[in-house]
């Protein structure tokens, strides 16, 4: 289930890397395949070009080797003085990093990227100096020969026979923003060499002679060209991925390379790196730590460390897996990590041993199934005698017993020629050695067999009378008993020590796994990520299919599941039982043991948060006690993590609820105000009329009644808005889209507001040739009427209102514009929110800004004071509801020269109706 599309994390990482790059200086590498191809020359040329573009360029370190053309190019560039470092009586000139940093140029030139600094310098390597310069935001141009590239080091050594010690890690090169390949035909280079145009130091002269052969140069040239081409390919792919361009993605290969203390490992790792690069594959370097690990020399152990470190440097994920069975562990690891190719070294141990034990590689190949196994040959002779000790533990019981028999036989053969000269009692020592060896390497059974066989052999071969089991001297009975007891005790003790060591290693490994798991859990937020992390870690650690079920109401729902695993009804029942009883159930328990799945409650002290189901891919494999305990720990961690997200979600909900309640209170206040105000005026008027007091003259009465009538209309308006809003909110508004005449819509809206508009100057710009547009006539009339209503309310009576109707390719656009008080910028989108009214200062004192513009302030107050500003705060949100139900959009903007424009667009094609 690998997906080749970039996931969000990758994209984020890429964006961050790009951002980091922006702050950092840019690194450009002039890459050549041999000395003399003209890297320095090309670098200087490029630098001069930059200088002519007014870029501040300095030479931090350039080696011209006194070549005239090169020196000529360097002329005119500012050259920083070198730092003199004394080392063993010699003065070495190195690049002065501090001087470069203090000078702060835009671009620094640093020759020979792979150079090793004199001891006592700040960094051991020049490329580290360059890192520091880059970090200071300074661009760097540098030069490099292909053989200095870490991963190609051994290839180059093989081709040329010269081992290069100055190497640059590949990831440093990969960070380069630009790599320019400086190419020169080998013939031409050789000619230059002949002409003395290539600098050759005296010490290197001999090596160089060997190096500069056409065959070598051609091979190196090819490597350099391919490497650069690969990089271009990678960049292309990265570009395509960030821009989601579909392309022929690399197949997702995963490689695994087996690391051993043998000399071959380095070659294996480099091979894996190259193969990984070519396949664009993720790769793992794995060292299987057998109980013999403790017996390796310190040198060998540190070698393994180094190898793993090297692999990491080359981009591998490295792991140390403790186990007694190397091949089995490698293959199991490969399966659990979806490895497609295993790279192992060709065995170099003597044929006889190989025949007896079967090589690890053979075993891997036998078990690998569909995984490809690449066997890499080593030229290294089988000089290291300990190489064998890493892998060898015969696994088959039969073989182990056979070995134990062989050991006793060997001791006997050894004892036969000497038994006449030494006491049989001392021959016991020989057998004790056999027992100890058997205990240490072959396990309990074979060592017991060895002890018994030893007694028998001693009796048969050495105790007189020889070649019979009869014993003449009874004192030998004591020898036999002693040998047997000592043998058994030694065997028991040795085996126990071994088991303890193994257990300790296993625990350590488990702790590491658990640590990885908790770290992953801590790094993810959100239930999705946590479930995925649980699935990934548990299935990898236990090689099982996993399902996590979470309660939803009363029922359990699958929260996440290993790819390709479908829960059967039977298995669901096990999970339900587990959830209800808060006890493990299914396979390996007393409840429903026949089920193929094992379920555990995910519990915290607050209760059960879910169920973890574990199903072995191999039906006969059961969890060991140790694994079971580990699974418990995983389950506990998972439960806590799940609970954590649930609590976070609850807190969020509570917050939301609080906000909603606050909003509801505000809404209620607003509604009660809007409903009561007109009622007060109406009730007041009517009660006055009812009293029929003689003070009221006809004029006053008429005035009061007019006010009450106006207020009644306002009340009607408020109720209408509230009903519309609740219909929109309840989704009860049906939009009946039919082809309508936009002109008719505008006309009807103007007609509806005929009275408030009677003294206003309204211009309508509309083409008479507009086609019919699908819309709900009644609702759109209401939208336009609401917009006009707002325009009337928030502008002065003498200012014009303008309606523009236009048509684009696929949209109808209607704009209602006024010359009113406008909308504060921060409120432009919020005006469409329910009950949102633009907060305007109520007292003149708050109007500091307006005071500076008396004309505007005056206009503002006149609008504020006018009776018309009595919106419900619903008009625009109703408009938005209707327009969006048509599949259109509405927005507010401030008009140039003052005022507001509300613009809405409707799709011409009968669109997404709500």
């Amino acid at each position: 289930m690998e997906h080749s599309r970039p996931n969000p994390d990758e994209l984020l990482a890429r964006v961050q890397a790009e951002e980091k790059q922006q702050a950092r200086g840019k690194l450009k590498i002039f890459l050549g395949y041999a000395a003399g191809v003209g890297k320095t020359y090309a670098m200087l040329e490029a630098a001069r070009a930059r200088q002519s573009e007014n870029v501040d360029v300095v030479v931090a370190y350039v080696e011209t080797h006194h070549r005239a053309e090169t020196e000529a190019l360097a002329e005119g560039l500012e050259i920083l003085p070198r730092k003199q470092i004394e080392y063993r009586g010699r003065v070495l000139a190195e690049m002065d990093v501090d001087a470069a940093l203090a000078r702060q140029p835009q671009l620094a030139l640093v020759d020979e990227f792979a150079h090793t600094n004199a001891p006592g310098s700040r960094h051991p390597k020049r490329y580290l100096d360059v890192q520091e310069i880059l970090a200071a935001g300074i661009d760097v141009y540098t030069t490099l020969n292909i053989q200095h590239l870490e991963s190609l080091n051994d290839v180059v050594a093989q081709i040329t026979g010269i081992v290069v010690h100055e190497t640059v890690p590949d990831n440093i090169i990969e960070q380069a923003n630009e790599i320019e390949l400086i190419d020169l035909a080998p013939d031409e280079l050789l000619q230059r060499l002949k002409d003395g145009k290539v600098y050759v130091s005296e010490q290197a002269a001999r090596a160089i002679e060997k190096f500069f052969r056409k065959g070598n140069l051609t091979a190196l040239r090819e490597i350099a060209l391919r490497r650069t081409a690969d990089r271009v390919d990678d960049q292309m792919r990265a570009y395509m991925e960030t821009r989601a361009i579909a392309g022929p993605w690399a197949t997702t290969e995963r490689l695994l390379v087996c690391v051993s203390p043998g000399a071959l490992s380095e070659r294996l790792i480099r091979t894996a790196r190259r193969l990984g690069d070519e396949l664009d594959a993720e790769w793992f370097a794995v060292y299987v730590e057998t109980p013999n690990h403790g017996r390796l020399s310190r040198q060998q152990r540190s070698r393994i460390e180094r190898m793993l470190h090297l692999a990491e440097e080359l981009g591998a994920k490295t792991l140390t897996v403790p186990s007694i069975a190397v091949a089995e562990t490698v293959v199991r690891f490969a399966r659990s990590h979806n490895i497609t190719k295993i790279i192992a070294g060709k065995p170099v141990r003597p044929r006889l041993l190989e025949f007896l034990r079967g090589s690890v590689v053979d075993q891997i190949i036998r078990r690998s199934g569909d995984i490809d196994v690449y066997v890499i040959s080593g030229e290294v002779p089988p000089s290291s005698p300990t190489f064998e000790s890493t892998g060898w533990t015969p696994h088959r019981p039969f073989r182990r017993y056979l070995t134990s028999l062989g050991l006793v036989a060997a001791a006997t053969v050894l004892g036969l020629p000497i038994h006449s000269s030494i006491d049989p009692a001392n021959l016991v020592m020989l057998y004790l050695v056999v027992v100890v060896v058997a205990a240490a390497y072959l396990g309990r059974g074979p060592s017991i067999v060895a002890a018994i066989l030893s007694v028998l052999a001693l009796d048969f071969f050495f105790v007189p009378p020889a070649f019979t089991f009869a014993v003449t001297d009874t004192q030998y009975i004591l020898t036999f008993v002693g040998l047997l007891i000592v043998g058994l005790v030694i065997s028991a003790l040795t085996v126990r020590v071994r088991e303890q060591a193994e257990a300790a290693q296993q625990r350590e490994a488990q702790t590491a796994e658990l640590y990885e798991f908790t770290r992953d859990l801590a790094a993810t937020s959100g239930i999705e990520g946590i479930l995925q992390a649980v699935i990934k870690h548990v299935s990898e650690t236990f090689s099982r299919e996993i399902v996590i079920l979470l309660p939803e109401g009363e029922a359990l729902k699958v929260g996440a599941v290993s790819p390709g695993f479908a829960l059967t009804e039977n298995e669901s029942a096990v999970a339900s039982w587990t959830y209800q009883h808060n006890e493990p159930a299914g396979r390996g328990t007393d409840t429903l043991p026949a089920a193929p799945i094992h379920c555990r409650p995910l519990k915290t002290f607050r209760g059960v948060v879910g169920v973890l189901g574990v199903k072995p891919t191999n039906p006969v494999s059961y969890l060991t006690q140790e694994q079971s305990r580990l699974l418990d720990s995983f389950a506990n961690q998972a439960a806590l993590a799940i609970e954590r997200t649930q609590l976070a979600e609850q807190a969020r909900q509570a917050q939301l609820l609080q906000a909603t309640e606050k909003l509801q209170t505000a809404v209620l206040n607003s509604i009660s105000h809007d409903l009561r105000t007109p009622l007060v005026s109406i009730t007041g008027t009517l009660s006055s009329l009812l009293e029929d007091s003689p003070q009221l003259d006809a004029e006053t009465r008429r005035n009061m009644v007019e006010t009450a009538y106006e207020q009644a209309q306002r009340l009607n308006h408020v109720v209408g808005d509230l009903l519309d809003m609740s219909r929109i909110e309840a989704g009860a508004m049906r939009v009946k889209q039919e082809p309508c005449d936009a002109q008719d819509v505008i006309g009807s809206a103007l007609d509806r507001l005929a009275k408030p508009l009677q003294d206003r100057n309204v211009t309508v710009n509309i083409k008479s040739t507009l086609p019919m547009v699908p819309m709900d006539f009644v609702l759109m009339v209401q939208v336009i009427a609401n917009l006009l209503d707002n325009a009337i309310k928030y502008s002065l009576p003498e200012t014009p209102i303008q309606i523009d109707v236009g048509m684009s390719e696929d949209h109808l656009q209607i704009q209602v514009a006024d010359r009113g008080i406008g909308i504060p910028r921060q409120d432009l989108t919020r005006v469409f929110d329910k009950f949102y009214r633009v907060q305007r200062p109520e007292s003149p004192r708050k109007l500091v800004r307006l005071e500076a513009r008396p004309a505007l302030a005056d206009k503002y107050f006149r609008v504020q004071r006018s009776e018309k500003v009595t919106g419900t705060g619903l008009g625009l949100s109703i408009c938005r509801g209707i327009v969006e139900a048509h599949g259109g959009a509405i927005r507010a903007e401030n008009r140039a020269g003052g005022g507001t424009i509300i613009a809405l667009t409707l799709p011409l094609a009968k669109g997404s109706t709500a």
């Binding site: 082809p739 006309g747 103007l750 509309i766």
Partner: protein, 230 residues
């Protein structure tokens, strides 16, 4: 203004509304009968022989559409529908069932009286008014000549038929269905699109500002109405 002494039947289940209508209409010199249910309304029409019925759509025993249908089975008495905004479809159904006009609650008494007048007028036969005028629009029904401010306007046959149908019911709302059936014939009732296009063209020819029509008025969601001079 309107002819006094009309016999008006008010059908509404809300006593305050009946009371308001009784007081107002009586003040204008009309005689008011009341009914609270559909059943009462039907028997009151037979018993009192009113000149006009004001009918609320939401009645407890049967809906106003049913009352309209039943009445239309035997009488052409003008029926004025009272509706609320939430029941657009019922209003149109009642109009299609034969009601003469409608009013949306709340309404002013002025609007009510104007509607009553319109509803009563077009019980007059069309032949009595061969020339119809409203504002600057003049339609000579015998010669099929239409003029606006004295200028003759060329209409297509469909546009003329449309205008003629509106003239025949001047002042009264005509639903989309009614207009479509009158102009295009039965079977075209769903073709609102054709109606809108023709109305749009008609307005362009007879209205001074088609965006603010003075003669052919839109009743949003219901239909059209030709303005009638009083």
């Amino acid at each position: 203004m309107s002819e006094p002494g009309l016999r008006v039947l008010v059908v509404d289940d809300e006593p305050p509304i009946r009371k308001f209508l009784r007081v107002s209409l009586t003040a204008h010199g009309h005689h008011v009968f009341e009914a609270a249910t559909g059943g009462e309304a039907l028997s009151a029409v037979i018993a009192h022989r009113p000149d006009l019925v004001i009918l609320d759509l939401g009645l407890p025993d049967m809906d106003g559409i049913q009352v309209t249908r039943t009445l239309r089975e035997w009488t052409k008495i003008p029926i004025l529908i009272l509706s609320v905004r939430e029941h657009e479809q019922d209003k149109i159904a009642a109009l299609d069932a034969g009601a003469d006009d409608y009013l949306t609650k709340p309404f002013s008494i002025g609007e009510l009286l104007a509607r009553m007048r319109a509803a009563l007028r077009h019980t007059l036969p069309l032949s009595d008014t061969p020339i119809f005028t409203t504002g600057d629009l003049r339609v000579d029904l015998t010669r099929r000549v239409v003029t606006v401010i004295g200028q003759e306007v060329q209409l297509t046959p469909t546009e003329y038929d449309l205008l003629r149908a509106l003239v025949a019911n001047a002042g009264k709302v005509l639903t989309h269905h009614q207009l479509l059936r009158a102009v295009w014939g039965a079977g075209y009732e769903q073709e609102t699109h054709m109606l809108r296009v023709n109305i749009s063209n008609l307005r362009r020819k007879i209205e001074i500002d088609p965006t603010r029509p003075r003669y052919v008025l839109t009743e949003p969601g219901v239909g059209y109405r030709l303005r009638a001079d009083n």
